[in-house]
Amino acid sequence: MSANVNTALPLEYQTEQNRLNILGFWVFLGAEIILFGTLFAVYSVLNARFAGGPTPKDLFEIKDVMIETILLLTSSFTCGLAIYEMRRNNKNGLLLWLIITLLLGAGFVFMEVNEFIHYVHEGATMQTSAWLSSFFTLLGTHGLHVSMGIGWATMVIIQIFQRGLTPVTARKTFIIGLYWHFLDVVWIFIFTFVYLQGMVR
C-alpha cells in the first residue's frame, strides 16, 4: 500500500498496490478455471441425456457458431493490440483497439443471444432435458462473463478518457485484458467440447 514506485517497470506494474492487484487477479482467474472446469465436468456427465428431447445434431448450426468464434477470437487479438498500444504509451491507439474489442464482444453476445432465442423457439429450453440444462448453464455463464466484461471495460474506458494513462488506469486495462483472454480460452474449450463433439457424436 505504500508508494514504492518503480518506474523501470511497465506502467501497470509500477506501484506496489498494482502488483498486488495483478497477482490477486491471477489467483482469481485460478478460481475461475475451477468454476468453468466444474461446469465442463457437469456438461460431460449430462451431454448424452436428452430425455427424448432434441440432440446437438438437431439444434446446432455450425455457421453461426463459426461466426461467434471468429468474432471472439478476433476480439482477443485486438485486445492484445490494445495492451501493446498501452505499453507504447499511445492512449488513442489503446482506446481505439479497446473499443473495437468491445464491439466484437458485443457482436458475439448478440449472436449468442439470437442463437439461444432460436433454440427456445424450436422448443429446446433449459427445462427440456439434463443436456440442455447443462448446455444453457455452461454457455450462459460464459456469455454472462463476456457481458460483464463489456460493462466493466466500458467503465475503464471512461476512466481513461477522464484521467489519461496513469498507473491505476493502466493496471485496470491490463487486468481486463487478462480477463478477456481468459474468456477466449474458455470459448475454445466450449467450441471443442460442446459444438464439435456434439456434431461428430
Binding site: 500500500m1 505504500s2 508508494a3 502488483r19 498486488l20 492487484n21 497477482l23 490477486g24 489467483v27 482469481f28 485460478g30 478460481a31 475461475e32 475451477i34 468454476l35 466444474t38 461446469l39 457437469v42 456427465v45 449430462l46 441425456r49 436428452f50 430425455a51 433449459m126 427445462q127 427440456t128 432435458s129 439434463a130 443436456w131 440444462s133 447443462s134 448453464t137 460493462g151 466493466w152 467503465m155 475503464v156 476512466q159 491505476v168
Partner: protein, 659 residues
C-alpha cells in the same frame, strides 16, 4: 410466486414463537441501547465502515461466537429430543430442520468465521504487514459472510428452515420432495457467504505471498501463517466447485432445470459428488489453520522452537493435495464398485500419514520443554488424545467394505465430532485465550478459563463417546426417535447429560468474556506470554497501523530472536516515518445489504424483484470502479504519541510474561 402470505411467518410452534419474541426483544434492546448511549455514529465510523483487518477479525469472531450459540442450541434440542425413547419434544419435521441448520451453521457460520476472524487479526501482524493486500475487499468478505449468515438464520422464523440435511442430498433436496422454500435458503444464503469466503482466500494468498516483512522467506514464516496460506489455496481451489453446485441447485429448485432431478435425464448422484468435492477439502480448510494455532501455542508454552518445522510444512502441503482426492469416501455405499472404492480407501488412509507426522512433531516439541499449563496450552494438550480418537475411527471408516456397516450410523457422527471439535473448536478456544490480550489489551481470566476447559472437554467426551457405541449397536443418524426395546436409552441419556455439561462450559466462556472485559488487569505488556512471533512485538491491542517500524526478520520465531539478541526492540524518533493507510468505506456494508435483499427475494422465488435488486449490486460495482480514494497518511507526531503510550512505561506495574 405461489407463496401464501400467511405462510411467511412460521406460527403455531411454541419454541419458534419464543424465538420470534426473543429476536424481536433483542433487536429492540440493541436499537434502544445504541440510541440511549448515542453510539450510532460510533458504530458506523468505527465498525460498519472499517477496513482495518483487526476490527474485521473481531467482527468475524463475534459473529462466530453468536452462531456457535445458535448452532449449540440446535444441538441441545436434538439431544433433548433423543434423551429418552419416544420423546415428544420435537416432531420429525422439526428435528429434520434442527439437524440441518445445526450442521450448516456450525461448519459454515461458526467454524469458518471464527477461524477467518483469527486469521484476519493475526496474520498481517505475524508477517509484519500493515494490513491485508486488499483491505476493502476484506470488508466485503465479512459483510457478504454476515449477510449470508443472517439470511440463513432468519429461515426458521420466515418461510421455514431447510430440512434436507447439511449435505442436502438430491433427490430429497429437490423441488419434488421438498416443495417449500426452506431449501432455497440453503442454496442462496450459503452462496452469498461462499463468495465472501472465496474473496478472503484470494486476499490471504496475495497478502502472505507479497507482504511479508523484509527477511521473512517462506520457510521463515510462522506455522499459523503457513497453514492459513495452504487453507487459502484450498479455499480458492474448492469453493468454486460449491459455487457451481449451489447455482445448479438454485436453477433446479427455482428455474425448473434437470441437473439433479430424477426426471428429464438428471443425475442425483452428481450433486453428492460435487458437494463432497468441495465438502472434503472444506474439512481441511477449517482444520489446517487450527493445526497452525496449536503449533504456535505448543511452541510458546513449551518454550521451544517447533519441532520439525520443515516436515510440518511438507505435511500441510501433503494434506492439501490429498484432501482433493478422497471425496468418494463420504458415499462408499453409492455403489461405485470395489475398484473405485479401493482407490478412495487408500487415499483416505494416506491422509493419516502427514497428520501423524504433525502429531509427533507436536509431541516432540513438548519433549524436554518447560511446559506451562496455561488455559491455551490445556486446549492444545487435550486436543492430541481427543483428535487421535477422531483420526483412528476415521481410518476405520476409510475401509470401504467395513464402511457399509458404519455408514449413516451415529458411529460416523461421533467420528466427525471427534475430529471437528478437538480439531477446530479446541483450537479456536486455544487461539482466543492466546491472542485475546493482543486483541483487547487484557487477558481472559485463567481461572474461569480452566473451569471452561474442564467442563467443555469432559462434556464433549461424555456427549460423543457413547455415540460410537450407539452407532456400533445400529443407531442411525438423523432419526428423531427410537423405541424403548432398542436398548439405546441409557447411552442416549448419558450423551444428553454430556451435552448439558458441554453447554455449561460454553456458558463459562461467555461469562469469562464478560468478566474479563469488566475486571481484568489492563496493565499487561505487549508480550504477556513470552511468545515467539512478530505479532507480540507491537502494542496490545495493536495500534491501527500495526507496526511503527516493520521489524527485519533474520530467523524463524523472529520475535524470540529479537528478544534474545536485544535487537529491534526499541524505537528511536528518527526511525518513525509517515504511514499510508486505506480509508474507511461504506460500500462493503452496502453490498452486504443489497446481496442480502437480492438473496431474500430469490429465496421466495420473486424472480423479477430479485432481478431489480440485483441492479443494486451492479450499481455498487460501478461506484467501486470510480472510487479513487487513495487512503490517508498517519503523521509522525501521531505515531510518536501512540508508541510512547505503551513503550515508555519503563515496566512499572506492568505484568510481563504472566503465567
Amino acid at each position: 410466486m405461489d407463496i401464501n402470505w400467511h405462510d411467511l411467518f412460521i406460527v403455531g410452534n411454541p419454541l419458534i414463537l419464543g424465538s420470534q419474541i426473543a429476536i424481536l426483544l433483542s433487536v429492540i434492546g440493541i436499537v434502544a441501547l445504541l440510541t440511549y448511549l448515542k453510539r450510532w455514529k460510533w458504530l458506523w465510523r468505527e465498525w460498519l465502515t472499517t477496513v482495518d483487518h483487526k476490527k474485521i477479525g473481531i467482527m468475524y469472531i463475534l459473529a462466530g461466537v453468536l452462531m456457535f450459540f445458535r448452532g449449540g442450541v440446535d444441538g441441545l434440542m436434538m439431544k433433548a429430543q433423543t434423551s429418552r425413547p419416544e420423546m415428544n419434544f420435537l416432531d420429525a419435521q422439526h428435528y429434520n430442520e434442527v439437524f440441518t441448520t445445526h450442521g450448516v451453521i456450525m461448519i459454515l457460520f461458526a467454524a469458518m468465521p471464527l477461524l477467518i476472524g483469527i486469521m484476519n487479526y493475526v496474520i498481517p501482524l505475524q508477517i509484519g504487514a500493515r494490513d491485508v493486500a486488499f483491505p476493502q475487499l476484506n470488508a466485503l468478505s465479512f459483510w457478504l459472510f454476515f449477510s449470508g449468515a443472517m439470511l440463513f438464520n432468519i429461515s426458521f422464523v420466515i418461510g421455514g428452515s431447510p430440512d434436507a440435511g447439511w449435505a442436502a442430498y438430491f433427490p430429497l433436496a429437490g423441488k419434488e420432495f421438498t416443495p417449500g422454500i426452506g431449501n432455497n435458503y440453503y442454496a442462496v444464503a450459503i452462496q452469498i457467504a461462499g463468495i465472501g469466503t472465496l474473496i478472503s482466500g484470494i486476499n490471504f494468498i496475495v497478502t502472505i505471498l507479497k507482504m511479508r516483512a523484509k527477511g521473512m522467506t517462506l520457510m521463515k514464516m510462522p506455522m499459523f501463517t503457513w497453514t492459513s496460506f495452504i487453507a487459502s489455496v484450498i479455499i480458492v481451489s474448492a469453493f468454486p466447485i460449491f459455487t457451481v453446485a449451489l447455482a445448479l441447485m438454485t436453477l433446479d429448485r427455482i428455474f425448473g432445470t434437470h441437473f439433479f432431478t430424477l426426471s428429464g435425464g438428471g443425475m442425483d448422484m452428481m450433486w453428492v459428488n460435487l458437494f463432497w468435492l468441495w465438502g472434503h477439502p472444506e474439512v481441511y480448510i477449517v482444520v489446517l489453520p487450527a493445526f497452525g494455532m496449536f503449533s504456535e501455542v505448543i511452541a510458546t508454552f513449551s518454550r521451544k522452537m517447533l519441532f520439525g518445522y520443515k516436515s510440518m510444512v511438507f505435511s500441510v502441503v501433503g494434506i492439501a493435495l490429498l484432501s482433493m482426492l478422497v471425496w468418494v469416501h463420504h458415499f462408499f455405499t453409492m455403489g461405485a464398485g470395489p475398484a473405485v472404492n479401493s482407490v478412495f480407501s487408500i487415499t483416505t488412509m494416506m491422509i493419516a500419514i502427514p497428520t501423524g507426522v504433525k502429531m509427533f512433531n507436536w509431541l516432540f516439541t513438548m519433549r524436554k520443554g518447560r511446559i506451562e499449563f496455561s488455559t491455551a496450552m490445556l486446549w492444545a494438550l487435550a486436543f492430541i488424545p481427543c483428535f487421535l480418537i477422531g483420526g483412528i475411527t476415521g481410518v476405520m471408516l476409510a475401509m470401504s467394505a467395513a464402511d457399509y456397516q458404519y455408514h449413516n450410523t451415529l458411529f460416523l457422527v461421533a467420528h466427525f465430532h471427534y475430529t471437528l471439535i478437538p480439531g477446530v473448536v479446541f483450537a479456536v478456544f486455544a487461539g482466543l485465550y492466546y491472542w485475546w490480550p493482543k486483541m483487547f489489551g487484557h487477558m481472559l481470566n485463567e481461572k474461569l478459563g480452566k473451569i471452561h476447559f474442564w467442563l467443555f472437554t469432559i462434556g464433549f467426551n461424555v456427549t460423543f463417546m457413547p455415540m460410537f457405541f450407539l452407532g456400533l449397536d445400529g443407531a442411525v443418524r438423523r432419526s428423531y426417535t427410537y423405541s424403548a426395546e432398542s436398548g439405546f436409552a441409557p447411552l442416549f441419556l448419558v450423551s444428553a447429560i454430556g451435552a448439558v455439561i458441554l453447554a455449561l462450559g460454553f456458558a463459562t466462556f461467555c461469562y469469562n468474556i464478560y468478566w474479563s472485559a469488566r475486571y481484568a488487569d489492563r496493565n499487561i505488556s505487549n508480550d504477556p506470554w513470552n511468545a515467539r512471533t512478530l505479532e507480540w512485538a507491537t502494542a496490545s491491542p495493536a495500534p491501527f497501523y500495526n507496526f511503527a517500524k516493520v521489524p527485519e526478520v533474520k530467523t524463524l520465531d523472529a520475535f524470540w530472536y529479537m528478544k534474545k539478541h536485544n535487537e529491534g526492540l526499541t524505537l528511536s524518533d528518527d526511525e518513525i516515518k509517515e504511514i499510508h493507510m486505506p480509508s474507511n468505506s461504506g460500500l462493503p456494508f452496502y453490498m452486504g445489504i443489497i446481496f442480502g435483499i437480492t438473496g431474500f427475494l430469490l429465496v421466495f422465488e420473486w424472480k423479477l424483484a430479485a432481478l431489480v435488486a440485483a441492479v443494486g449490486i451492479i450499481i455498487g460495482l460501478i461506484i467501486r470502479s470510480f472510487d479513487y480514494n487513495d487512503g490517508f497518511h498517519v503523521t509522525v507526531d501521531e505515531i510518536k504519541e501512540t508508541e510512547k503510550s505503551w513503550r515508555s512505561s519503563d515496566g512499572k506495574g506492568v505484568k510481563n510474561h504472566v503465567g
